[in-house]
Structures are given as C-alpha cells and as structure tokens.
C-alpha cells in the first residue's frame, strides 16, 4: 500500500501501472490468489494422493485372474461385495476391525486423558524440575519402538498374554506427543486467572481439572483424540509381534494377507479397503479438525 502512495506522485505514471507492484506487495503473503497453473499442479498432486485409494476399490471389485492381466482394470467390476465378504469372514477382517476399534478406542481415551492431565501440569502448575521433566518427555519421542519390543515380548510370554488385546493397549496408553500438544494448547487457551479464581473458592486440584481444565481443553482434546485414533489404528510393529491371526488387529490381519494367508489379490485389496475405510470416513467427517490439529502441533512444535 505504502509503495503505491510513494511511487505514484514521484514517477507520475498512470494509476493502472502503479497497481502492478502494489498487487505483488499485497499478494506476497497469504492473500495472493492462486493462478490456473497452481490449480493444475495441485490437481496432479491430489490425483496422486487419491488414485491409489480409488484403485484399491477398483481392484477389490475384480477377481484375482483379472488383476494379473494387462492392461490393469481402470473401472469397477462386479465382485466388490463378494470380495469384501471373503475378506470379512475368511481373512478375519471382521474380528480385526472389532479388535482395532477396542484397541484404538482404549488408547485414544487413555492418551487424551493422561495427556490433558500432564499437559495441564506442565502448562500451568509450578513444581520442581518441571522444565527438565518436560524436556525429558519430548526427548522420549526420539526412541524408536524397536528398542522395547524384545523385553516386552519376553515378559508377555511370561504372563501368557500373547494374543490378548491388553498387550497392545497398555504400552501405548500414554503419548509424549500428546502431552506436549496439550501443554502447548493449554498455555495460551487456559487463563491462569480462571484457575486462581477456582483456587480462591477453595477448589481442589481435581475439581479444577474437572470444572476448569477439561472445558477449556475440549477442542484440543477432540483433535488429539482424532490424531491418536489414526495412529493407534495404524500401529504396526508391536501388534504384529504380540498378536497373530487368531486374534488380530486390522494391521495384523493385513500383514497375514500380505504374507499369503489368502493368495487372492482382489480379496487382499478388499481387506486393505476395509481396514482403511473407518479412517477415510473419519477424514471425510473431521478432515478439517485433523488438518487443523496437525498444523497446530506443527507451529508450536
């Protein structure tokens, strides 16, 4: 804006020409409108993002023989429901989806609850070593799951817990990312005066949490819940070690399919489709919140 005001009288050029640099100044930030080329490139990337998923459904609607032929099928066939049925019954996707719902649901509840509590403590309460402990929490994110699986497997064998769902629920019940996420949110979203007011009224810490923290944290809890559910549903390494096809989660069942449990590509694709469907529906319904959550976590991370 200031440029046009400055340059216009000096150069005494027609107004229309002065606008050119001005639009550039305005547009440099987020206000700049996208040109057609931007849309073309974005459409290409969008197609690359979606095509494999659409093709999964196409492949799941064909049969094994057709999938081995050239050219590959580009449109839907007639076998979708038959293949979904086979995947559901014979490949154990039915049990798997039920189990994954329980596992991912429990992990989500635990993670959101514990992360909110810890995030609140780190954001608003003063205690000794709080900053060291927060750094430690963040540091744990660097540790790969591979470092825990051998002892966990041995202990699980001792407890005769293999193939029980608690084996995959318990280790993932808390999350360093979630704790940090909630802390960052509560630092700015929860006014300290509100806590102080409740304290003056003599509220205990649990009351403060229930009546002040949870209401203030609700939007972030919802987003963290969504992100956690996605991660828990898709968790792979520990579940395939701890569980087998007798009592699988979705990823365990898909792993069995991948290693030839049912050597029919169209059924395998039907399984992949089934296992992804709940999350795709979640993205359809809450895509905006999930995107917002990832971007929120990023700015502060």
């Amino acid at each position: 804006m200031t440029t046009s005001e400055l340059t216009a009288p000096q150069d005494a050029v027609p107004v229309r020409e002065v606008r050119a640099p001005r639009r550039r100044v305005m547009g440099a930030g987020k206000q700049m409108h996208a040109g057609p080329l931007t849309y073309v490139v974005l459409i290409v990337f969008a197609l690359v993002s979606l095509a494999p998923l659409v093709w999964t459904a196409i492949a799941a609607s064909r049969n094994n023989q057709r999938l081995a032929e050239t050219p590959p099928p580009l449109w839907f066939g007639a076998n979708l429901f038959k293949n979904l049925q086979t995947a559901w019954d014979q490949a154990g996707m039915g049990t798997a989806m039920f189990n994954s719902t329980i596992v991912a649901g429990s992990i989500t509840i635990g993670t959101v609850l514990f992360s909110t509590l810890a995030g609140f403590a780190f954001a608003k309460l003063k205690f000794r070593f709080s900053s060291t402990l927060l750094l430690l929490t963040i540091g744990t994110m660097m540790i790969p799951p591979q470092l825990a699986v051998v002892p966990l497997y041995l202990w699980m064998a001792d407890l005769h817990w293999s193939n029980h769902l608690q084996t995959v629920i318990l280790p993932t019940l808390v999350s360093a990312f979630g704790t940090f996420f909630m802390r960052q949110y509560l630092v700015q979203a929860l006014p300290t005066e509100l806590i102080e007011a409740a304290r003056v009224d003599g509220a205990s810490s649990l009351r403060v949490v229930w009546h002040v923290v949870f209401p203030a944290a609700r939007p972030a809890m919802a987003v963290l819940g969504l992100l956690t559910f996605v991660m828990a549903w898709n968790d792979f390494l520990w579940p395939i070690i701890a569980l087998n096809q007798q009592n699988p989660t979705v990823q365990v069942a898909l792993n069995s399919l991948g290693t030839g449990y049912i050597p029919d590509q169209s059924v395998i694709m039907a399984g992949a489709l089934l296992g992804t469907l709940p999350l795709l529906i979640a993205f359809l319904l809450f895509g905006k919140q999930i995107v917002g959550g990832i971007m929120q976590g990023a700015v502060k991370g």
Partner: protein, 342 residues
C-alpha cells in the same frame, strides 16, 4: 461456579496458597494466619498437600507407563544384547558378552541393512520434503476450497503402512502392474520392481513418500502462515520477484521447521520396517531375494522373530539407538550454529 460452596467453608487456605507460590511460601502464609479451628486446619493441610502433590500426580501416568513399557525395556534390550537369548528356549539366557555385537560387525547382512536404511532413507526423505515445501507454497495461495485441498493431500496419511504397501505392491507388479503399464506408454521397458536393487528401493521409498508428503506439506504450510507479511512487503519493495521472495524470505524463515521435519523423517527412516516387510510378500523379512531392500528394522525382525535370535535382535536395536543418538548430536550442533548465525 460449583465450587463456591466450599469457599464459604474455608477461605483462608485458598488465599494462602495461590498457584505460583512456592510450597514453602504457602506454608509460611498458612503459619502466619490466625489459628484455624480443628476441622478447617485439617482441611487446609489436605489442601496444601493437594497443591504440592497434584502436579506430580498429573504427570505420573505418563512417566509410570513410559517407564514400564519404554525406558525399562530399553535398558533390558541393552542387557539382553549381551546375552544369548533364543526364541525357542526363552527361559535359558546365557551371558554372551559382546558376542552379538561382534557377530553383527562381521556380518555382511548387517552392513547391507545399514546401507539400505541409509539409501532408502535418502531417496524417500529428500524428494518428500522438497515436494512438501512446493505443495505447501501452493496451498498458501488463496484457494477455492482450501480445506478440501488440505484434507485431500492428507488422505494418504489415513492409509496404514500395511494397506498402502499391499496396494503399491500390486501397482508395482512386473506383469500387469499399473506402473509398468503406464511406463509402457512413454516407451520404458517393464522394470522388475521386486528384484532389481534400485527399482525395489525406489518402490519402497515411493510408499513412504506417498504417505508422508501431504503431512509434511501441512507442517510447512503452518510455518509459512506464521511468517509475518511485512517481510514479503519489504522484499517486494526491494524489487524481489516471487521466486526471489520464496528463496530469500520463505526458505530462511522455514529453516527451523525444515530442521524439525528432517529430524522427524530421519527418525522415521531409521525405523523403516513395515513397507519393506510387506513389499517382500511371503518371505518379506529377508528384504528381497538378495536382501536388496532389507532395512535395519527389518533385519532386526528377521533375526529376532524369523530366525529366533532375540539376543542379536537386541544388539541390532541398540545399534539403531546409537545411530539415532549420533543423529541427535549432529542436529544439536546444527541448531546451535543456526542460533549463532541468527
């Protein structure tokens, strides 16, 4: 507020121990006040105890569960890596000293896995992050239906490693696979994506790229939106065109975020496991007939649960840990230098 009923009962401790006071200060204030009647002082003591203990109670679930299922197993993994532990006889562990590590260092497969982890990490991370910056830049324009674009870019993230790999394996099949069929149109001979070294490594990397590019794009987009607009304005006044603005304003401002995503992607690449496992099909843990895409994570699974040598698997896990510590140290060095230069 529902807690106001309590306020009448005992106002003294509430004002004595305002949040933010040191525990000691709270005690001092309580002591100075007029002696409270019996039940109230018991209550106020409870209240002060609550103030002191609550933070620790709130963070304890994380530390207890992480300790039990993360830290202690990590240390035990180190302990087991010094033992001979076989899957077939879990109760018979015998001291092995550094044998597992010596075994690893003299094993071609270990070095091969290390090399593959590095190459696959490189060809999956670099294009992924470059594309993500590009997409983020485009998403940062004012778009019709901006949320829809963002959600679409993120959909691969909803697909699990297993589902994505099963689909891509089929897309990459030699005979009748979509990729080879499409390549045929531009006159490229069918590539054996399973057997050739670079082909299989590229295929495995492409799964990683597909799943994570959109996610990283959103992270960059968030950082781009936080760049103050006047930086662009002054750059434009200096006569910088769009590309120069991107190059000299956007990229430098994104530097901490880029560093962050590089670290996260490096951690991910070091653990890479599910993609090569399922890409290999029935004998997936070998990472191809020539181990051409066996990563460290896969090698560990193969040694531990397919061959059944859990002691050696532990040693591989700790080697991965060491590598990550080195990465972290390098990162710390970089961050320091970055801070100094700014």
């Amino acid at each position: 507020m529902s807690s106001s009923k309590q306020a009448l009962a005992h106002p003294a401790p509430g004002s004595g121990a305002a949040p933010g006071d040191k525990p000691g200060a709270a005690r001092g204030a309580g002591g100075r006040g007029t002696p409270a009647p019996g039940p109230s002082s018991w209550r106020s003591r409870l209240y002060r105890w609550d103030m002191k203990a609550a933070p620790y109670a709130f963070i304890s679930p994380f530390f207890i569960i992480f300790g039990a299922f993360g830290l202690i197993p990590l240390l035990y993994t180190g302990w087991y890596s010094l033992h001979n532990v076989q899957l077939s006889s879990l109760d018979h562990k015998s001291w092995a000293g550094l044998d597992n590590y010596r075994n690893l260092l003299s094993s071609d497969f270990f070095w091969n896995a290390l090399k593959n982890t590095f190459t696959i990490g490189l060809i999956s991370t670099v294009p992924q992050l470059l594309m993500a910056i590009g997409i983020a830049h485009l998403l940062n324009y004012r778009l019709r239906g901006s949320t829809v674009w963002r959600v679409v870019m993120l959909t691969p993230y909803a697909t699990s490693v297993a589902a994505a790999t099963l689909v891509f394996t089929l897309l990459y099949s030699w005979d009748g696979g979509m990729v080879n069929w499409l390549l045929g149109f531009v006159g490229v001979d069918p590539v054996n994506w399973r057997e050739s070294t670079w082909g299989s490594q590229f295929a495995v990397s492409s799964i990683v790229i597909w799943r994570w590019t959109g996610y990283n794009a959103l992270i960059y987009l968030a950082a781009m939106q936080a760049i103050p607009g006047d930086l662009y304005e002054s750059a434009a006044i200096d006569g910088a065109n769009r590309w120069q603005q991107f190059r000299h304003v956007t990229i430098p401002q994104l530097r901490p975020t880029i560093l962050f995503t590089v670290v996260i992607s490096t951690i991910g690449a070091t653990q890479l496991f599910g993609e090569p496992l399922l890409f290999g099909g029935v004998s997936g843990s070998k990472g191809g007939s020539e181990h051409q895409y066996q990563t460290l994570g896969l090698y560990m699974y193969d040694q531990g649960w397919i061959i059944g040598n859990l002691g050696k698997a532990s040693a591989i896990a700790w080697s991965m840990f060491l590598i990550l510590l080195i990465v972290a140290a390098i990162n710390l060095l970089f961050t320091r230098r970055l801070r100094k230069s700014q």
